[in-house]
């Protein structure tokens, strides 16, 4: 039965859950933005998160990264409870993310942005900076070198423009810089919030290949991706979670999900509903 449904794609992975949430709930006033979500993801898996606008996908990311505190529920990252920790502590544990409307540091260069992604890996203190500057310099130069490699990985053009302020770069490049910044911290878990938002079909295709390449280079990295483009989800996600009104309404491989009656209803509206044209 399981094999028929295509579950073998993820069942062969061991039960090494890197992130588990149980009964995760948050209210904003009267609105229950995320409602009792049980979620789990194995090491090395790519999971897609889909759902109509306002279904709580981004809020779910904000809960994992500590920007919001849940009202109820548990979040276990690598077996440890991370609820109550501040975002920077959670980032230090190895979770990196991008934002829906790329939140880059706009008035400094793309290179600086990527180097900032390595903040958790850099060790020099204030005293080093003032009295032992050589150490800081080597660390920064190593960082700059790695940042250049990361930028070149996405596009040579971007590498050439790496000293320009991010605000001057085109939209696509900004999205790429943000993914570079997230990758720079060598995360165990990477959260991508609509990475292809606002991109043309060709650029989307390119980015998808890049994400696949990231996976090929580092088998260990686990990715959760929010995406509206179903063709992208179909091709990169091992498994899909579907959200609607803050609730998880379905989970499984894309082939199964795409036939799920609840999912179709969520996207297209219920059949019984009067549709005004």
């Amino acid at each position: 039965m399981i094999k028929e449904l295509g579950y073998e794609r993820w069942c062969h992975l061991n039960n090494d859950h890197i992130l588990i949430t149980e009964d995760l709930t948050i209210n904003f006033g009267g609105l229950r933005a995320v409602d009792g979500v049980d979620f789990n993801i194995n090491k090395g898996e790519v999971v897609g998160l889909i759902g109509p606008n306002g279904s709580g996908k981004t809020t779910f990311f904000n809960l994992i990264t500590g920007i919001y505190k849940p009202d109820r529920g548990r979040i276990l990252f690598a077996g440890e409870n991370i609820i109550g920790e501040k975002p920077h502590q959670i980032t230090r544990r190895g979770i990196a993310r991008t934002f829906q409307n790329s939140r880059l540091f706009a008035d400094i260069s793309a290179l600086d942005n990527v180097i900032l992604g390595m903040y958790t890996k850099q060790k020099t203190s204030l005293l080093d900076t003032i009295f032992r500057y050589k150490k800081v310099k080597t660390e920064l130069q190593e960082g700059a070198k790695r940042a250049m490699e990361l930028l070149a990985f996405f596009s040579e053009e971007l590498k050439k423009n790496c000293l320009r302020p991010v605000a001057d770069l085109p939209h696509t490049d900004r999205k790429r810089v943000e993914i570079c910044r997230a990758l720079a911290s060598n995360p165990k878990l990477l959260l991508l919030d609509e990475p292809t938002g606002g991109m043309s079909p060709e650029e989307t295709e390119e980015l998808m290949q890049d994400i696949k390449k990231i996976k090929e280079q580092n088998e260990e990295v686990t990715i959760i991706v929010i995406e509206h483009d179903m063709s992208v989800i179909e091709r990169i996600a091992d498994r899909v979670y579907v959200f609607n009104y803050g609730k998880k309404i379905a989970e499984g491989p894309f082939s199964v999900i795409s036939k799920d009656i609840k999912v179709i209803e969520a996207y297209l509206g219920e059949e019984t509903e009067d549709v005004e044209t």
Binding site: P87, T91, R92
Partner: protein, 381 residues
């Protein structure tokens, strides 16, 4: 040396010499008309250079290629300046004052420029350094050289204590807290008995190196240089030191983190930056260097009173950073020179000083929000 090199060095040395001559003339002229003449000359000259792109490009190339030479020439000029000005002790004193403001502004630059915390507490931190060290010197007789770091540390401690609750507020509210703090410190200094009330503290001993007191005239090769030059050199040394610290901070993960916070606090936090820690660090470092400037001020003036630490000091320093350039140390130092020399030269308008400052800040924010010298891009190789 190749002919081409000589061809490039000569015009660049000529320009720099011209610049220094103008600066020198600007310092010694006292009539409003001659000063206005010089100022309009500078403006016309810069417009002339900007109008001819070839010349502009050529000069930029010369300066970047012979950067070391340009810096060495500049240092020689700065060291020689008191000798040139030996008949104008008051001008040396004004330069000392400009140096003090440069110190304060370099510290504040880590707040307004790098981290985008608009901090008006400079007056308070300046006062903390000055009063702490003045009281210690008078009652315990400690020497200036020990008190210099102590003044800084005392102010940094206050900055840390003020910084923690300040982090609960943001933007305008944070500015309001710092304004209130400056006013409270001013009122306390005026009303407490052990700070001397409105009379302040007098007879603070001058700094000494061995038997050489800083209020004695320098005699060099038969030239007599007024004692103000001692303070001038001391200030130049401290500004240079702060400048180096500024550079190191800027090219470090600390400076990068500050810039990240300036742009987007949530995104910064998601890169693993402890935003509260970084902001409090910026506060404390700013207060540390303000404290050092305060100590320098107390010992060089030998008399301090609350009138030197009013809210006006805070406004002036904020204006310097805004005019000079956000997050650009060179710009901030030039801004400090401009903002202290120009009001001094136009004594006629002295009564309208704050009005003019307000106008300048407004115009700068409208026309050049990043200052005369905006932040430069970090290069790592």
């Amino acid at each position: 040396m190749k002919r081409k090199e000589i061809f490039e060095i000569i015009p660049f040395i000529f320009i720099e010499t011209l610049f220094f001559t103008i600066a020198y003339l600007f310092l010694i002229f006292e009539k409003t008309y001659s000063i206005l003449g010089i100022l309009s000359g500078i403006i016309l000259f810069s417009i002339f250079i900007n109008k001819i792109p070839k010349l502009n490009f050529f000069l930029a190339k010369c300066f970047s290629e012979y950067k070391k030479l340009a810096i060495i020439y500049g240092i020689i000029f700065i060291i020689a300046l008191p000798i040139l000005l030996r008949n104008y002790p008051y001008q040396i004193f004004i330069l000392f004052n400009a140096g003090l403001f440069a110190l304060l502004a370099l510290g504040l630059n880590w707040q307004i420029g790098s981290t985008n915390i608009v901090n008006f507490a400079t007056g308070a931190s300046f006062a903390t350094g000055a009063y702490t060290t003045a009281l210690l010197a008078i009652h315990l007789g400690w020497s200036f050289w020990i008190l210099l770091p102590i003044g800084g540390l005392a102010a940094a401690g206050i900055g840390f204590i003020l910084g923690l609750p300040c982090m609960k507020t943001k933007t305008y509210y944070l500015s309001l807290v710092t304004i209130a703090f400056t006013l409270i410190v001013y009122l306390l200094l005026n009303n407490l008995s052990w700070t001397g009330g409105p009379d302040g503290i007098a007879d603070i001993p001058f700094p000494k190196i061995g038997n050489y007191s800083f209020d004695s005239t320098i005699r060099l090769l038969g030239l007599e240089i007024p004692f103000q030059a001692n303070f001038y050199y001391l200030t130049v040394f401290l500004v240079a030191l702060t400048f180096i610290v500024d550079r190191r901070l800027r090219y470090s993960r600390i400076g990068l983190a500050w810039n990240a916070i300036r742009n987007d606090e949530v995104a910064a936090e998601c890169q693993g930056i402890d935003v509260t820690y970084s902001k409090v660090l910026s506060f404390s470092l700013n207060f540390f260097f303000d404290g050092i400037a305060g100590t320098l001020f107390a010992f060089c003036m030998s008399h301090i009173s609350p009138e030197s630490f009013t809210f006006n000091v805070s406004i002036t320093v904020v204006a310097i950073v805004i005019v000079g350039g956000m997050d650009n140390a060179v710009g901030v130092i030039l801004g400090a020179l401009l903002m202290t020399l120009i009001p001094e030269k136009f004594q006629v308008f002295q009564n309208y000083r704050m009005l003019i400052f307000g106008f300048i800040i407004l115009m700068m924010l409208l026309l050049r929000p990043k200052g005369l010298f905006p932040q430069t891009v970090r290069k790592y190789y």
